[in-house]
């Protein structure tokens, strides 16, 4: 997948970068924590990835794996051991040098029971993880520093995804001492520069809760040093407010365009907009364990054909989403362009409906469609409702408060519902396994979909390290899932980002991460 704003970028990169300046970043809603172990939402990740580097990083445009703290790596014969060569010039923000042991310490902490990290699963493939996570042991046995700059990681099984997942900021490297010093306040707004010491291109200055977070250029950074002196992440609760600030000239970048103004903004400043399709999938999930969807693929197909997703994306979502026609977003590696999910066709919908045993919707009890409340979800739901009504399918809308919504989905109470999922790292395994594997029933797989063939292929894909072969496997998986239609894939979010006319070389990848090292201000 490629950045849709490449043209702008080209124009920007042609100039020679200038150092200095403060980058004022308009962020919608506050990160909840800057502690890597808790980096669940996008804003925390956004900032944390500037503070800490991981062993690897993703290419800002292509999402390919690039060396970072690790300058190179090798797989062992059986593909179960990875040996990382650590760069010798990596410095923490307090000036001390990074050694292989520092990495092990940080990962042990992430895996430890007391840390209670929801992201510890990233280290799950490593041998000895389980013992640490359950509190039996304190160190992961699969991690070994053979010397100060060599790290050996032993995996339980062959795992082609593990390396990619190391680009997640949760497994990035900070100075353990600073975490110990901060105690329970680690990574909270109470943080001070000496209690939040990382390895990234920017170092921490201050966090004014719900107000702003300030980072400063780290001059001893081992890689390409940042151009801007400072980044201020200004925190907003409302997109319009942020946009007003932008218009008042107080921001260099805004994370989100206020809904309702997208079209006009596109017209107003077409040259200052970046458009990215992110690694998200949104779909209407069917509860396959419940009537009328249980064992009735025709009704699912009928609904799929009755919905005019494209026109909803254009009007209701104001072009802020791409229509998606499969379980993966088009920016995800392994995305299958060729698969044929049913698309809008009212005639076909009626045929399927008849096949399903409900000609013109007769005999079909109203179906409940649940979604977590946002105005946008609501509008989309209303549009769905209206479109389904045209072919004779009645649905009831049920908007739910987030907590109850998650609960209800996981417990299988709902009939039909909205699901949205963001990938943690750019690998098809991430989304496909979470959402369609039987092992995730009642957790992430809320449609209760299962297909033995899919399960088999998922395992195969995980073990296959050859990239071409792997991608072929995922293509097959996608085909199978599309065939079974456990869901109607609707949109992949296609965020609009606005930046100021003085901003150059701003890139945003499909994980919705900006690379602040390359940005410069004129």
């Amino acid at each position: 997948g490629l950045n849709t704003a490449l043209k702008n970028e080209e124009k920007m990169t042609r100039l020679t970068p200038v150092d200095g300046g403060v980058f004022r970043f308009g962020m919608i809603s506050s990160p909840s924590a800057l502690e890597p172990a808790f980096l669940e939402e996008i804003n925390g990740i956004e900032i944390c990835k500037e503070l800490n580097d991981g062993l690897i990083r993703y290419d800002p445009n292509t999402l390919e794996i690039k060396p970072a703290i690790a300058e190179s790596w090798d797989y062992s014969e059986d593909k179960k051991v990875i040996t990382f060569q650590i760069r010798k010039d990596v410095k923490f923000h307090d000036g001390t040098s990074l050694k292989a042991q520092d990495i092990i310490d940080v990962w042990n902490r992430l895996a430890a029971k007391d840390t209670l990290s929801p992201l510890a699963f990233l280290l799950e493939p490593i041998v000895g993880f389980a013992q640490v996570n359950s509190g039996e042991l304190e160190t992961i046995s699969g991690l070994k520093a053979t010397d100060d700059y060599t790290l050996e990681v032993t995996l339980k099984e062959k795992n082609a995804v593990f390396l990619t997942s190391l680009g997640h900021p949760a497994v990035s490297i900070y100075k353990l001492e600073s975490a110990n010093k901060a105690g329970k306040d680690f990574g909270t707004p109470a943080a001070r520069p000496e209690t939040l010491i990382g390895t990234g291109a920017f170092k921490f200055v201050k966090w004014n809760a719900d107000q702003d977070i300030i980072l400063e250029k780290f001059t001893d950074y081992y890689g390409t040093k940042a151009h801007v002196d400072k980044i201020i992440y200004k925190i907003f609760k409302d997109e319009s407010t942020a946009f007003n600030e932008f218009r008042a000239g107080n921001l260099d970048y805004v994370d989100m365009v206020p809904p309702g103004q997208r079209q006009s903004i596109l017209k107003e400043i077409p040259d200052q907009i970046l458009k990215t399709t992110t690694l998200t999938t949104q779909y209407i999930g069917f509860n396959l364990a419940k009537d009328p969807f249980k064992d009735n693929i025709n009704i699912r197909k009928a609904i799929a054909c009755a919905l005019d997703i494209q026109s909803i994306a254009d009007t209701v979502l104001e072009g802020s989403s791409m229509v998606s026609n499969g379980p993966l977003p088009d920016t995800m590696p392994g995305y299958d362009i060729d698969h044929r999910a049913p698309t809008f066709d009212q005639k076909k919908a009626k045929e399927y409906l008849a096949l399903a045993g409900y000609p013109d919707g007769q005999g079909l009890a109203p179906i409940q469609y649940a979604y977590n409340y946002t105005q946008e979800n609501q509008r989309v739901a209303e549009a769905f409702q209206a479109q389904l009504k045209e072919v004779g399918i009645q649905i009831h809308l049920k908007n739910m408060e987030w907590g109850s919504y998650i609960n209800a989905m996981q417990s299988g109470e709902l009939q039909m519902f909205r699901v949205a999922c963001v990938a943690d790292y750019p690998d098809p395994d991430n989304l496909l396994r979470m959402l369609y594997s039987k092992s995730q029933w009642g957790m992430n797989n809320v449609t209760f979909y299962s297909n033995p063939e899919v399960e088999r292929l998922l395992t195969q894909g995980l073990e296959e390290t050859d990239i071409t072969k792997r991608m072929a496997i995922y293509k097959k998986i996608q085909e199978l899932i599309v065939e079974d239609q456990p869901a109607i894939w609707t949109f992949s979010t296609n965020y609009l980002r606005i930046y100021g006319d003085k901003v150059h070389n701003l890139t945003i990848n499909a994980l919705d991460q900006k690379d602040m090292r390359s940005v410069w201000l004129s």
Partner: protein, 310 residues
């Protein structure tokens, strides 16, 4: 008087206890698991259980409540599930912002409202009076988000004379609170205007006003010195009641103007089931509510020498 104040503060105890109980009860009964909300869906049951144990959520309701009250009595409001910070620290961080906001809003609402009210009472029946009455009704019907956005656009974006949002960092910087204060105070202002107007009309009919005029005092002296203080008495009573709704109003205002205050904190916490924060904030709000009403009572005594509390 001092004893009265102490008594009123003591009254806070049952109210606070009641609120904590109510909050606790309600939050516990609400469907939706805080652990799921905290950790997201990716998490293994093992981690979920770890967290649940750590937070004591596996304990029966009552012992959790006792634990909670016990901690409060030790000045410990717990730690946020989401931000992992101490609730007390978070509160202390945010109180000044909300205080500033409500202070500006109230000051504005009271001064402008009272002034408008007095003028329209004095000119009862005039076009100005009709205008202000209409204005008052408008004040009730204008949604505050609308007002806030329009103000931002006009003063922040077009004329750029006031900051669009934010609090300007540490300390109280008035310019950051003008627009939010106005937005929050607008409906109150309308209400105060209405109250003052009717209070003033009532007062202007009183015998002592006639006395004051018969003494040859000029109209402004009669109205402001003799009338206003009396007319403010019913207004004051209402101010206490109004405070609760003002507090409710801070949520939207803080959101629109990106002010990191109590309202934002509460709404964030509620939507993410951050129990300790929700409980801390409601408890705090209850305290403020009681204190504000105490203040109102004191003000009452100041305004009306007939009332003395001993």
């Amino acid at each position: 008087m001092i004893r009265f104040i102490i008594w009123r503060i003591l009254q806070c105890v049952p109210v606070g206890l009641g609120i904590s109980m109510l909050t606790f009860l309600m939050l516990s009964l609400v469907p939706g698991d805080p652990v799921t909300l905290m950790l997201g869906q990716h998490v293994s049951p093992q981690i979920m259980n770890n967290v649940r144990q750590e937070l004591g959520l596996d304990l029966p309701f009552f012992s959790r409540y006792l634990q909670y009250v016990w901690n409060i009595l030790h000045g410990d409001l717990g730690r946020s599930y989401i931000q992992h910070q101490e609730v007390t620290t978070m509160l202390l961080d945010k109180i000044p912002i909300t205080f500033n906001l409500t202070f500006v809003a109230t000051t504005f609402a009271v001064t402008a409202g009272v002034l408008i009210g007095v003028l329209s009472a004095v000119k009862q029946g005039s076009p100005w009076d009709t205008f202000t009455t209409g204005f008052t009704l408008l004040g009730i019907s204008v949604p505050s988000f609308w007002l806030g956005m329009i103000l931002q656009l006009i003063f922040g974006v077009i004329f750029r004379i006031l900051p669009v949002s934010g609090s300007g960092g540490d300390g109280f910087q008035l310019q950051y609170y003008i627009l939010p204060g106005f937005t929050l105070g607008f409906a109150s202002m309308a209400m105060y205007a209405g109250l003052t107007r009717s209070g003033m009309l009532e007062v202007l009919r009183q015998d002592y006003i006639r006395t004051a005029r018969a003494k040859g005092l000029s109209k402004p002296v009669v109205v402001f010195k003799h009338g206003l203080k009396n007319a403010l008495i019913p207004v004051t009573t209402h101010a206490g009641m109004d405070f609760a709704s003002l507090m409710g109003g801070t949520v939207l205002t803080e959101m629109i103007f990106s002010l990191p205050g109590i309202g934002t904190m509460l709404i964030n916490a509620v939507s993410r089931r951050d129990y300790p924060v929700v409980q801390g904030v409601t408890l705090f709000l209850a305290l403020v509510f009681v204190l504000v009403n105490l203040l109102v009572d004191i003000l009452y005594a100041v305004l009306d020498p007939r009332i003395r509390y001993d």
